[in-house]
Amino acid sequence: MEYPDKFNQGISQNKAVHVYFSQAIPLVSYIDDSCLRLKEDKCDICSGVCKTGAIDFRQTPLKTDINVGAIILSSGITPFDPSVKEEYGYTKIDNVVTSMDYERLLSSTGPFEGEVKRISDKTNPKKIAWIQCVGSRRVTKGDNSYCSGVCCTYTQKQVILTKTHYEDAECTIFHNDIRSFGKDFERFFQRAEQLPGVEFIRSYASIEREIPESGNVIVRYATADDGVKREEFDMVVLSVGLNPPEAYKEISQKFGIELNSHGFSKSDSSNPIKTNRPGIFVSGAFQGPTDIPESVFSASGASSQIGELLDYRRGKLAKERVYPVERDVTGEEPKIGVFVCHCGANISSVVNVPSTVEYALTLPNVVYATEQIFSCATNSAREITDLAIEKGFNRVVIAACSPRTLEPLFQDTLREAGLNQYYLDMANIREHCSWVHAKQKDEATKKAHDIVRMSVARASRLEPLQEFDLSVNKTALVVGGGVAGMTCALSIAKQGHEVQLVEKAKDLGGMSRRLHTTLEGLDVQAHLDNLIQMVYQNPRIHVSHESTIKHVDGYIGNFTTTIETEGRTKEIKHGASVLAIGAQEYKPSEYLYGTNESVFTHMELGEEIARENDVVLDAEVLVMIQCVGSRNEERNYCSRVCCGHAVKNAIKLKKLNPEMRIYVLFRDVRTYGFREDSYREAMEMGVQFIRYTPEDPPVVEETKEGGKVVIRVIVSDPILGQRLELDADVLSLAAAVIPASTTPEIARMFKAALSVDEFFKEAHVKLKPVEFATDGVFLCGTAHYPKHIPETINQSYGAAGRALTLLSQDTVTTSGTVARINYKTCVGCQTCLPLCPYGAISYNSKKKVCVVNQILCKGCGNCASACPCHCANLLGYKPEQILTQIGAI
């Protein structure tokens, strides 16, 4: 008997006893609640056939007491269930699915192995509609009033993936505002929007009915130009929002923590990780709807706050991992084991995997080859280790994906088998083959053979490489004394480490000195004063004011940074660096800014309100213009915070002067998360929101009306369909948040990468959101991307948490893939010197040779390719290794 498979959203069937999904951890079968024995005490087949006697129906729930010093609640979200509302037609109409269902349909491990099929007749849908904001941004019963913050971007991802699956697919997205507020989201939206056959329509849409004969779905929507329209689609995807899991109520009672009105953790915006109960912390979506990077850095942040609490017992209970002794195989003939991965169906739907295995067995030095469904699953990794020991391999080739994500995992499996981890080669038959040749299966299989042959050739020439253990200096350097830098510095210092805090201005505080409140109601100045006081009172934090970074030397665990303070220089030795240098406000050249004194930026307006400036408080008409200097050609990104600032200032002004007429001219209102409630509050207070398009921006001119100078703002109202003239007393501009002017210089000195928009670029958007690719250097705050204060605080604790994973160690290991210069043949020409992006090569003038600092070297190979006398080599990629690989083509 088979039942709906929960992992595949019930679209496919599975037995009551099954493995949850093929990469599950732990990878063991379990029995779900559809089991007949559990339900009706009927069947007992499985326990009879289980050879190891692992199934025991006499088991009862076991209660275990565990004593701990702290708790993190990270119980995530539940996707909104649209079946609670009849209007969505979900579960009633076959071809109406949720976005979570659609993820499974797209996935190669999904119900149709990556083929998108309709539930009704298993055909590929050609015309697909997405309906946004399902369950979100609505105050009706059963829906959530907040914006879930992730749906706009995941829908765009699904559209892009659909178009890669099916070039001729027609995708229509019915949306409200497009909320591309995150880093690089704006460009991603543009990428989706510009695909042929993709149409974004700004309209509320509803499911009207199913056409019984075809299973198609009629969607009803309305646009300003055409009025009400009906359109037929093969499939409709409901972009469902994020709900708090039902279990939060129970968790809140059991752990004694408070929830907010939406059912998420009631957070204090000065520290969203903290709960009302000391020792209990929240990370990820328990704080409210969040995306993956935020879930990751708030987790690191929670671990940092626990470190503050439990530092005294660090290392007392944890056990170190022990690997078997490394076997010396240098004298042996190469014996290569080849593992060809299906990657679910990602590879095997295109490349013939069994034929690739057979082919591998014909190659020289290959003693064993086999296929695996997912080489990265725990059982497969175990299989590689076991076979390597059993068959005595001394080299391993994994024919699977790019080494970028999983190479460390496979290196680990080699170490478990007592092999040096550099005896591994990964043949990339996914990104380089199956993904790009999906339509040429035979040729793709041939290419996979070629790739495997090359990889085997290189593997036979591999040598063991040694990694270095470096001592770790326990001091941290934090650059930037704003909210981000101070929060991070305090958390590191509270865990017993000295912190050098370097601030370029005279006072601590940074940009937050100009902010007075947040939408959540935080008194920013009081919080800042408190932070500054704690920083000065902490004996481990050493602040250098009016200081600039002059020079950075060294590497992870052992940096030496030279700073200059009032003409005097000082050297700081430190093990970790945190860059929290903030951002700055764009000075608009638009809309009379700088020529009319009643034109402010949003941040200035906030300051004028706090200062109780009568010109502002007594204004009869106040106009705000959004996206000034952002979302244009020059700065193709959203500044993220301005919509929130506009709403915050508007509410504040309305409370002080209810008669004031306030107009907000916007492109998309991006009050994501719980900020949506404030947007609604502002509308209810009578603040008028008028949408404009970049093709038809507002026009601002100074004019005289009844003897006084007014600022005339002319804008087209898309709803009324006419030009509006607003005579404003005060105009406020949502000026862009731009990178601090010192960003490129600081980035250069710390060898930190910058993204297209010149904010700091993290090592990995999702998995390493607070660290640079350069080891030992971390980032937080608005230098990474514009963000609100609570987000900055989350991220700053996150950077502290990641820094502690380094600072808490006595030694750190660096890679063995580094360059080496043969001193006997080097002629000292110094060609390599300027080519090294990491400053790892120096010239020894006594011996007249170039020398590589193997710790600074990142293994890019520039020196090896440029050396005219072939004496610079990149270990693991020596000429004979590469030439053998090329020779095998």
């Binding site: 996935s107 999904g110 879930s295 017992r313 209970l317």
Partner: protein, 81 residues
């Protein structure tokens, strides 16, 4: 805190003995992480790397949470696993 009264070394020694005594007899850890999705996994990894013993509690049959169900992720199309 109570640390003001006793010399630091005494407190340290006392807590060390206490911890090792309890640890031998009971399920004793530093931190419990409730939920094994991406956030819980990251927190556990960071805590363990930084020297703490972590108990992770997950109600489902596997860790990975909702992220494990996602096909590929923005913006690099990396697989979610």
């Amino acid at each position: 805190m109570g640390n003001d009264v006793l010399p630091k070394e005494v407190v340290q020694q006392f807590s060390d003995t206490l911890i090792s005594n309890i640890a031998e007899n009971k399920n004793f850890g530093d931190v419990m992480v409730v939920g094994g999705g991406v956030s819980g996994i990251q927190a556990s990894l960071d805590l363990a790397t930084a020297g703490f013993k972590v108990y992770m509690v997950e109600k489902g049959p596997s860790i990975g949470g909702h992220m494990a169900q996602l096909d590929k992720t923005f913006p690099t199309n990396d697989c979610s696993m």
